[in-house]
Amino acid sequence: MDLALTDEQKVRKQEFYDTCKELEKKRPPNFLGFETIYEDDKCWEYNLHCAREFAKKGWLALGWPPEYGGKGDMMDRVLFAEARGYHGVPGVDIFGVQMLAPTLLQAASEEIKREFLPPIARGEAMWCELWSEPNAGSDLASLSTTAIRKGDEYIINGQKTWNTGAHKGDWGFGVFKTDPSARKHHNMTFILLDMKTPGITIRPIPYLDGHAPYCEVYFDDVHVPAKNIVGQEHEGWAVVNLLAGFERSGINEIMTMIRGLEDLVEFCNQTKRHGQPLAKNPLVRNRLAELACQLEAARALAYRVADLQNRNEMSLMDASAGKIFFSELGERFAFVATDILGPYGQVKTSRWAPMNGVWERMFHEHFITTVSMGTNEIQRNIIAWYGLGLPRIR
């Protein structure tokens, strides 16, 4: 057991932190977490600015092979994610950089890699994902949107939903039914498509707090070049599973919470209630300390996942456990923080809102991590079935 970073890693980590600290200073005041980039033009501009800054340093291609412009390794990706999380800086497209790029590197043809990787590394192409459908959520494999091959094109018809930032995306990746007569899991293809293609209609879905980071996307005879696929035709399910395994440590989210705790501690030290700092209240101390312990446990497990990923020894169980734990910690954190703020816990960003209303926002936003990327209930199934070998009723 050795948790030490090498001297080179320490230097790079410092550079990641320094750069993110500088970028944090330029952050628009209404930026409250990465979802806001999809809701607010200033935040989107800021996201693009950060992306360009990172691209200049080659940090959007960390861990890629050098022939595609990559540098560093998986551990650098983790350290970079940590710095961005702590300083609350966007600029790394979770769909393009974090999910799609490693998938392309493992599963795409040389032609596709050469076409799609460079714009991702330059921070120019922004992506969205096209997975869920109204009747295919956790049971994604039961999707029904079709992409029927006609000559050297696919023609897509149907509907996708819960597509984060689809209205901002230049490109989308998703799975579509290409062989409706084939059996489940062998009937879909992983397709890349230009979101400006005629026949695509994008509608924002109002989230429960009134913001709209998600969309639903309608396809009406959308023509896509047949070459734009990853993996084998009709075998997109394998690509879905591959993609789901990348960047699962959660270190970015955890570091954001660690910073959130620091800010909350500062607030409790500065804010008087009953004639003394809120920090002196034994209940507040106990509850914040409990969260601090759980955050450290979450961070320790994230390093475990990162350590495994760094050696290409991905543990599905640990990744699922980490996802369950940090996302539900986010729920608890939002509840505790909004409790501690008392009546101010309900105030949205405004002159009355402590810490710019970030905790009021988190009271709604924590669902994003528990529900997306495989609900926590699905993650529990993964641990039980594939990890503990418990029988599955079909």
Partner: protein
């Protein structure tokens, strides 16, 4: 970064697992719990031959010279199997001798500890039952070349079989509770010492130890006069990490036993482990185990490297305390009625989860340390 065990650690782990499963079956654990001594001298001797008491003692004092991190690996196995007896009390007593002992004290005690010839324990808590210095009221007053100790200590593990007791006593009324506390190495046969085993949840032989005009030579002061509290803090910190390691081993066994049972136990014509009501609980237990494990490894690494880790050690203890109790509780619940029987093995773990929680500071005690360390005024 590499979170895997070293080869030495893997060997230690395997050796410990094989040894304990052969030499310390649950029939023996049950017998020892009901016995007066609470440990097996034959088993103690065999463990001494394996070098366990001397694992972290440097080779120059007859030990194995392993690291604190290696010790954690052994303790995890002990927690998995359960091993009644004074091993952890002895190892915890060894920490302060290693750190604060004089050369003379080290030479006199360490080789014998490593040989399994000495059992140590620490007398810290008193009537108030608190882990901070304010609870120390036992008095040690100078008299010639001696100090004379008077007072009553409680929850002293295995004091009835210990050869030496590290007694934490008040030597002067200091400016703060932490000042004026001294640690004494007390021969348990000294006249004036009496003890009585307390009936406890885990039947782990915690004792009341009464000191009545007990004379201890000045040379038996561990560290400096009046400056013993930092030694106690160090012992509590290392002890807490050690207890966490034991706990994650126990948690692992609870998960394994319960999962295995759920695959065998058939109700409604199918194994109960096929029901999601149980599966999701297992996933939660496994998640709790895994988060605990890597938190404890992180802290053990820091302690082993000599990095400051008071905050992280308290985080680990506060976290693992709750995990162990919760997982052990669910292990009983998911077994159903069968595990509420005293004849079942799961209750050993459930009962010990409470003892582990209290040892070296319970959750609220450690959360308060965490509250201070994260910067709450």
């Amino acid at each position: 970064m590499d979170l895997r065990f070293t080869e030495t650690q893997e060997i230690l782990k395997k050796m410990a697992r094989d040894f304990l499963s052969t030499e310390c079956p649950k029939t023996l654990v049950r017998k020892l719990e009901q016995s007066e001594e609470g440990y097996s001298p034959e088993l103690w001797k065999k463990m001494a031959e394996l070098g366990w008491m001397g694992l972290i003692i440097p080779e120059e004092y007859g030990g194995m010279g392993y690291t604190f991190q290696d010790l954690i690996v052994l303790l995890e196995e002990i927690g998995r199997n359960i091993l009644p007896g004074p091993l952890i009390a002895t190892i915890t007593g060894t920490f302060p001798i290693l750190q604060a002992g004089t050369e003379e004290q080290k030479k006199a005690l360490l080789p014998k500890i490593a040989q399994g010839e000495l059992i140590l324990t620490t007398a810290l808590l008193e009537a108030e039952g608190v882990f901070d210095a304010s609870g120390i009221t036992a008095k040690a007053t100078p008299k010639g070349n001696d100090f004379v100790i008077n007072g009553t200590k409680l929850f002293v593990e295995m004091a009835h079989v210990a050869n030496y007791i590290l007694c934490v006593a008040r030597t002067t009324a200091g400016a703060s509770p932490e000042k004026g506390v001294t640690v004494f190495i007390v021969d348990s046969k000294t006249p004036g010492i009496s003890h009585e085993v307390m009936p406890t949840t885990a039947a782990d032989k915690l004792c009341e130890v009464r000191f009545k005009d007990v004379s201890v030579p000045k040379k038996n002061i561990l560290g400096k006069l009046d400056e013993g509290w930092p030694i106690v803090e160090m012992m509590l910190r290392k002890g807490a990490i050690a207890k966490c390691a034991e706990s994650i081993g126990a948690v692992e066994t609870c998960v394994e036993m319960t999962v295995a049972y759920s695959k065998e136990r058939v109700q409604y014509e199918r194994p109960i482990g096929s029901f999601q009501a149980l599966q999701h609980k297992f996933a939660d237990m496994w998640t709790a185990m895994e988060t605990s494990r890597y938190l404890v490894y992180e802290v053990a690494w820091m302690e082993s490297e000599g990095l400051p880790c008071a905050k992280e050690a308290s985080m680990a203890k506060a976290y693992v305390n709750e995990v162990y109790k919760d997982v052990a509780k669910w292990a009983v619940r998911l077994h159903g009625a069968i595990a509420t029987s005293a004849d079942h093995d799961i209750p050993f773990y459930y009962r010990r989860s409470k003892a582990a929680d209290i040892a070296f500071g319970n959750t609220d005690f450690h959360r308060e340390i965490v509250a201070q360390k994260i910067g709450l005024v």
